[in-house]
């Protein structure tokens, strides 16, 4: 009994120490996805590519990270980054995108993006695209992106 109580007290102490503030969520990771959108694109012969952008908002007190994206909108859905190198715009896959506590990380043209490789249909303005974003702590979060 005493052992149980002290364990709880210890856990509470850790929580207070890590969280440091009244706004701390109860250990649950919270991530919000704002303004998700996809650029208009054609599937062409099934090899068309597209991209989805959004703001990853972490209002909680714990760090999280985007690890992957899933969806049947394309044969392959990956997390990528565009970067500038020697006057060229280059691309590379990223293993994770850190979303620090209290911060917002933007996926936007010319930066981080969800890359859709081998579209299974055309993306036309006004339509929507369903995706699932996979976070290290928050787990799977469904997202509806507006096609612009």
């Amino acid at each position: 009994m005493i052992r149980r109580v002290s364990l709880r007290a210890f856990a509470l102490g850790v929580l207070l120490f890590v969280g440091a503030g009244p706004s701390v969520q109860s250990g649950e990771a919270t991530i919000r996805i704002d303004g998700a959108w996809a650029r208009r694109a054609l599937m062409l012969d099934g090899s068309g590519t597209g991209a989805v952008y959004a703001a990853l908002v972490n209002p909680g007190g714990a760090a999280d990270a985007l690890l992957a994206a899933e969806g049947d909108i394309a044969k392959s859905v990956e997390v990528h980054e565009t970067f500038q190198d020697q006057g060229m715009a280059k691309m590379r896959p990223v293993k994770k995108i850190d979303v620090p506590p209290g911060r917002t990380v933007e996926l936007k043209p010319g930066g981080y993006h969800i890359m859709l490789i081998g579209l299974t249909r055309d993306l036309k303005p006004g339509e929507t695209v369903q995706l699932t974003l996979v976070f290290q702590h928050a787990g799977k979060i469904p997202v509806t992106a507006q096609v612009k």
Binding site: R39, R40, A41, L42, L44, D45, S47, G48, T49, G50, A51, S76, H80, T82, Q84, D85, Q86, G87, M88, A89, K90, M91, R92, P93, P109, G110, H113, M115, L116, I117, D122
Partner: protein, 199 residues
Amino acid sequence: MLSYRGLRRSLLLVAFLLCAGVALGEELRSGSFKPPRAAPELGLRATDGTELKLARYHGKVVALSFGYTYCPDVCPTTLFNLAQVREKLGALGKDLQVVYVTVDPERDSLARLKAYLGGFDPTFIGGSGTPEQLAAARKAYGITIARENVPGSPNAYWVHHSAFVFLIDRAGNIRALLPFGIALDDMVHDARVLLENPS
């Protein structure tokens, strides 16, 4: 005392000078070429089935850029922006011709390029040619490319490339270089400056 005709003439002159002043004072927001230099001619095939020559578009402002259809982020960002520039320019936009030259002739057939560009704006013209013709076009415009296999996908590759847009005025001179990432408003602004000035 001024006659009506004289007054009218004076007012017209003032209006003309005001317009000229505005035009002269209107600086480009992106990198500008001073003095302007003649845009190197292209010798390629166009997606409308004709020979792609810039001379065809004298009298129009040309937005020239390089890219490829398998490009997921950079190229569609540029093309999407250029489509919006034409839209935002309203009637003036009709005189802005977008020309898009492939850096990936192996995968970009003219038919594929045409379909791809049509997804943004059906007036966009694509260009392709032999590897030698395309290399010459890139050299003339200082475009560098680098092919890289996509990690984990043995059959896929990227063609990293310079991603700026050249604005060529109605007289066929390169006037501006829009870097990738430039704000849409600045693109519209610079295109408008060239469209509203004869050369």
